[in-house]
Amino acid sequence: MDRNKGDYYIEVSHVSKRFGNTQVLKDVSLNCESGKIYGLVGHNGSGKTVLFKILCGFLSCEEGTVKVNGKVMGKEKDMLTEAGIIIEDPGFLRTWSGYHNLEFLYTLRNKKNKAYLYAVMEKVGLNPGMIRPVEKYSLGMRQRLAIAQAIMEDPGILILDEPMNGLDKKGVEEIRALLLKMKEENKLIILASHNREDIQILCDEVYEMEEGRLRKLCG
């Protein structure tokens, strides 16, 4: 396979994970590369979020390995720092405005560009001038802010757990278009969704997680 500089590839090999007596992931394997969107479907509690957390480096796996560009997570690499993520609830400082939350996170990577952040907020359908604190945002607005947070540093990898949660029809269409554009820009995107239409429209390969086992559905 030809790989260019800036391309990413993730290899998940025979990963198993257990919490106490509950086996959450069973022998999960998955290969992903830049320029594609991978869809993950499955019931609540089937193990999608746990797999995402293992990919990011938040959790470790008892068996198997996760490699990102050949580096083993947990040994040669402790965290997937090149990824933009949405996992579980969007975690923002509730009393701060959306813009200030983004600005704070953006500066963690020594970046500062107000005009750019304004443009990112507009891209996801938020008004950057709005001074309302995040605690007064609707669920959809918070989700849009989470998407802005995930994409604002132009990451090579996107790991998105239910990114369309709480979005209205127009919002869903906007975010779909945004993700397709990012795919064209050679990003590696892994997406979990309960919405079949999202999966059909966006994904190149679709996998189903059922009781901790992953199987390929199409692509």
Binding site: F58, M79, L80, T81, I87, E88, L108, N110, Q149
Partner: protein, 286 residues
């Protein structure tokens, strides 16, 4: 450089939040209450009072225990696994993230002590004497029972006046207070990672409550136990005053060495743990 910037930003988050606001309020009320007799005395004799009363207020048992409980409350956001920290960790990596947390604990500790110190000066403000001399009022109050009729629970230790200037004593108290508060914060962070949040609170409380046996023991035993209970070292103002023939507080060099070493050991253990810890994010607000 990136770590230093993260420490600075993270310190801001740890300082400007609702828990710190509650601490501020607690210290405002406590400072006003404990300093009020001095203010009344100063007003009655129409003589200014030194700005350096914080070290003596800290020697009041009730104030000291309130202060440490406040410090424990401010540190109860351990193990820093609120959802917002998920976005920090993915950007910074584990090592930088934990260095940011530890640096934040240190900065917050300094601010906690400064808040308490400032709130012992504010109530005195119109009558404060801004000099590096102890002044007549404190010397008179220390050598007579002039404060007794104002129901003061603050004792002024006369012997300290010949050993330290106000600036030196305040610097010593700020240093010992900051290091002890940082030790409590680090201990709570350590327990929250190796055990859980309840153990963290219990560990912090155990260190604070360690004051009770030290201060209530017979002086013959007190001076031995005092070497191992850092929360009592905030009473630096008593360091030059013997009790039943004993200088029961350990020397300053010992306090500083013990605290720096303790913080260093905890930092090493925390760094080791975070290399392999599983992050379980929670919904608690920062």
């Amino acid at each position: 450089m990136r770590v230093l910037q993260y420490i600075w930003k993270n310190a801001g988050l740890k300082i400007f939040n609702s828990k710190m606001a509650a601490f501020l309020l607690l210290m405002l009320v406590a400072g006003r209450t404990f300093v009020n007799p001095l203010r009344q005395f100063s007003a009655e004799v129409d003589y200014p009072v030194s700005w350096c009363v914080f070290p003596f207020v800290l020697c009041s048992f009730t104030y000291l225990i309130l202060f440490w409980f406040g410090v424990i409350y401010a540190n109860s956001d351990v193990p820093f696994m609120q959802h917002v920290n998920m976005y920090h960790t993915i950007r910074m990596g584990r090592r930088r993230w934990v260095l940011g947390q530890m640096g934040g604990i240190f900065f917050r500790s300094f601010v906690l002590v400064m808040i308490a110190a400032v709130f012992t000066i504010l109530p005195l403000l119109p009558e404060v004497e801004w000099s590096n001399e102890w002044g007549k009022l404190l010397r008179t109050a220390a050598s007579t029972n002039g404060l007794a009729r104002y129901q003061s629970s603050v004792v002024l230790y006369y012997d300290i006046f010949s050993e330290f200037t106000p600036l030196e004593l305040m610097a010593a108290v700020l240093l010992i207070g900051t290091l002890t508060a940082a030790l409590i914060g680090m201990l709570m962070f350590f327990f929250s990672l190796y055990c859980n949040k309840i153990c963290a609170a219990a560990g912090g409380l155990a260190l604070a409550i360690g004051l009770f046996p030290v201060l209530n023991l017979h002086p013959l035993l007190r001076h031995k136990l005092a070497w191992f209970v850092p929360t009592v070292w905030a009473e630096v103002a008593r360091i030059a005053t013997p009790d039943h023939g004993y200088y029961w507080l350990p020397p300053l060099w010992y306090m500083i060495s013990f605290l720096v070493l303790g913080i260093g050991i905890l930092a090493a253990l925390i760094l080791h743990k975070v290399r392999g810890i599983e992050f379980q994010w929670e919904n608690e607000d920062m």
